[in-house]
Symmetry: D2
Subunit: 336 residues, 4 copies
């Protein structure tokens, strides 16, 4: 696993400060005139299902926060906890020189950065801006250019792991941007995740995430089709899963997140497909993969079809179910 | 891994005979009047790329063979080694009460069993007939019925692992048939494989194999599409593979048999896609999966498309290349 | 339109007999010793949704019938009308030297011909056996061989047009078999259809039908996707259909059988998808196309996917709806 | 066919002017202060394979042109013919109050309108701006908003028919925009096309075109698959095409542009797939359809796959061939 800085929840002591100073010194050459004290306020924009627990993990690690969300209600509990809530992304940029954004779509991200009262209106030179939204890599690259013109640093760092991992601080971050800034990003991201991976230039974090999720969708549907066919040919599901898992058909979808009820415990298929990673979110990620494939002229025959399948499921009552409910979707019996 | 009987190549001594007797005694109730001495001749029909090394492994374990192949040349080296070559499947059945068949297609299997001089013409009551061909499960079930009428036992036991594993005795056998006969089948199959798995009733061995290979094909194409898209979005292939393999996209195709040249050593992609498991064989297995899905009315959207992709590759010069050459197929650059 | 012999319902007069004799004489060289009188009894096996109205049209044209169906109830009304009902296909063959079969599946057809009391048990030399079932072309070829061994003639003549056209005598027959026998087949088929087309050797009638229906399914789904996309992009459905129909997207599905409610009258989409050509029947034909493509190694990427889509629809409540209900299936809105 | 104003090449006489004045008067309420004299200069931006013959047809109808192209060479012959060539889209807008743009991509269109020296820099109030490029409908809508802010009128009017129809003035234009402006657009477009259809609000012209082309691609591939399967099942291609064309499988691809060599004369399949509508252009249009489907969440299972197929063909030497060469692509025989 990639090394990550996991800052303990304990109060920083002298030993800690020395370590922090050593890290800061090592990064100094490439880092712009950013504040050296790591516990300076961190801006957080977007306190939804994912942003809320992520911001809380930063708080647990002793970072004061500067909060903004288009929905004031989302900020309430942070305000009550004593954090500072401001009224625009620009205001966040004014008060913090490290900002994390966690937004649903490319459009929201562009608005938060380049909008009328966006980050770029007041961003300070040398600031570190980390976007953990999952958006089109070409949009990330555009934002990075704009940020760079203002003398600041942009990194894309989309996440994997879902709401559960967000809460327990076990997210995986796939980070793109200038390599010298990676350590500084790791410092913050390591509070929220157990896996912080450097992927390359800006946009490659998004690329890694959407490629993984496209392969995941294909594997999940493939596992579903193989399990269903095997069952109809007389195989016991648990035995078939066991055989696949010891053979070349082995994949995460079949050995860690099997979609067939009764094969494994502790996964959504054992709980009527509640929780997990929703169909709508998978359809969104597959749409991003499709857009990227179209613009780079990459052939994605199975990926395209997986996208269409999840798109259909959204329209047929599966939007809120875990994406492994595709087994239920394909297996629906004739009812008259 | 499922336990398997691996009979050592050493000469059977007294201790061995006791063990053999114990095993035979335990199976006695369900086993018909078959010879108790395990080193009695074993019939082998089909000495092609797979059958040849499989038969040799039986010889290594001390089994005399009764050999037949439609092509006399295929039998030559066995004849020179002192094994008995006969002139029809019926003759094999006359001289051996355990027979293994290893044939390319359903039609060949039906011919060997039910043809004019087929096994069923002279099969002895209580014989054990193991078909290791990969054929349509419904054909296996038909053959089993015919065999049963003659008072003998039929099991389907298709293999996984390819020519390499056949040579080194490391095949995986997926066995279908009456459970009480499994031990007797294991005795023989364990000489040729390191993994002998009981799957259920007749036909489930075939079912398990084709379900695994369908999922494998889908995963391989999915891995290819994800790797290619990631590369075009700026990711380094080795890094992307590493990320997939630590994430939910993980599968055998990406972590053990990566299709992208330069990512791993010791796999066909590192050797211009030579060797391995050929495209034509994969297309054949996918055709069997498609036929089974059509007759059981099982929806296989990705499986169908994977079949069409491998079918196209056969017609475009990829027939003899390893099936991971789909990466090369999809990635072909515009050349004018 | 291909010329066809449409025998009027009027009683045969002298002029008719002369014509009949001329036709018979012309066919004589290739025709075996079949009865020359055209109004001799015609056997009809399979009196279901299609067979029933087809047989009635033969009656209307003055042909006495020898009837058989596995379900005796299906024969009742013919018995009451004075037709002869017998108790096996063999008995039909004994009493009629021209027989039409109209059965649901390959298995039913094989049973009717080669079963214990099948046609082939008592078929007379020179008989003309026309199978209008839609079955696998390779099965038609097998039946033809068996029939030929008995000195009789076999032709495949599957139909197109549905129950409505069957009732009004407007079916299309696609006929395969020996060309010299076509005129004799036309004589009978022309009573039931307005379009009798010679396609080539045995099996080509089936081939023509399944190729047409595969292209139809692809066009219908394509029309559905294009209409739905256009509507979501702001186009009025009637205007869009009009534009498609004057452009290169024009097809029967869009100009004669549009799947979008409100675009055309007199088609199933205007009547909640009742009647027409059912989803289950389309899925069956697509399964036959898929099987044929797999065995001839023909790539059918869209055809395979169309098959999977209709297969899914059968399992989701669309089995009895007209196949144009795919518009409704794809268009289902999110309901929560 | 939709009525269109076809202005003869003859010199305008008195009768014409009266008609022109009547038309202008009728449109006056909705039309801004645009010049009433119809033979005032028309701007033309983009003189490529399509733009060049289109502009010439305007010249033939007596319209003086104001020309611009990023490649000066493209303007040469117009300059020699006495037309006025300027050095930016802004300059075109300065001198003409009716402008037609014919550009390859959304990016080019945005540049021509909103770029540094774009049309919008100097556009006069009341100008009529017609974009005949085939671009993303959402981009057309964005451009329309920007144009509207400047008090001018924007219409999307993508074309169908290819280079041949462009030369002979037989293009089809699918027009979107404010309905009251349609007549004015028709005046110009009718010089270049024989079919000018009003589709609805801005963006619906693009929508109609991409929906038609998506259905066309699906039909062409479907026709190819059906023809190939039929041929492999023993049908004569010409006979099969004839049967399809009299049956429910009938479509433009099979009855007017058959992809199988030898079936029809005067189409690309009869000429080694030269000329016609290139694979690359079809892939481009399918990419636009895919993007639109993704952003409107419309399921396009066959459309997605058709896009992937044409994308693959571009990378395998088929870019410059007519899109009906998909028959050749799918039919390639095994060559070793």
């Amino acid at each position: 696993m990639a090394a990550s800085l996991r800052l303990p929840g304990a109060r920083p002591g002298l030993r800690y400060w020395s370590y922090r100073q050593r890290l800061a010194a090592a990064s100094l050459a490439a880092v712009c005139s950013r504040s050296m004290a790591s516990k300076t306020p961190v801006g957080f924009i977007g306190l939804g299902n994912m942003g809320n627990p992520m911001a809380k993990n930063l708080m647990k690690h002793g970072y004061p926060l500067i909060i903004y969300d288009v929905f004031p209600d989302a900020c309430k509990e942070f305000q009550e906890a004593g954090e500072q809530v401001v009224s625009s992304p620009a205001d966040v940029a004014e008060k913090a020189d490290r900002i994390i954004t966690m937004l649903p779509t490319s459009i929201n991200a562009v608005e938060a950065y380049s909008g009328t009262n966006g980050i770029l209106k007041k961003v300070k030179k040398g600031s570190l801006l980390i976007d953990s939204s999952t958006i089109d890599p070409s949009v990330s690259k555009e934002l990075a250019k704009e940020v760079e013109k203002m003398g600041a640093v942009f990194m894309d760092a989309p996440v994997s792991g879902g709401v559960g991992a967000a809460g327990s601080g076990n997210l995986t971050f796939m980070v793109g941007g200038v390599e010298e800034e990676f350590a500084a990003a790791q410092e913050l991201l390591g509070c929220m995740g157990s896996n912080v991976v450097y992927c390359g230039a800006v946009g490659t974090g998004q690329a890694a995430k959407i490629c993984n999720n496209m392969l995941l969708a294909i594997s999940m549907i493939g596992t579903t089709e193989a399990m269903n066919l095997g069952i109809r040919l007389g195989l016991d599901p648990k035995l078939l899963a066991k055989i696949l898992n010891m053979s070349s058909g082995r994949c995460w979808s079949s050995d860690t997140y099997n979609p067939v009820p009764g094969v494994m415990d502790g996964v959504p298929s054992a709980n009527n497909y509640q929780g997990g990673f929703g169909t709508t979110l998978m359809a969104k990620d597959l749409g991003l993969a499709q857009d990227s494939a179209t613009s780079t002229k990459s052939p994605i025959l199975l990926g395209s079809l997986a996208h269409q399948i999840y798109r259909m499921m959204c329209a047929k009552g599966y939007s809120k179910k875990d994406f492994s409910s595709v087994f239920q979707f394909l297996r629906e019996e004739e009812n008259f």
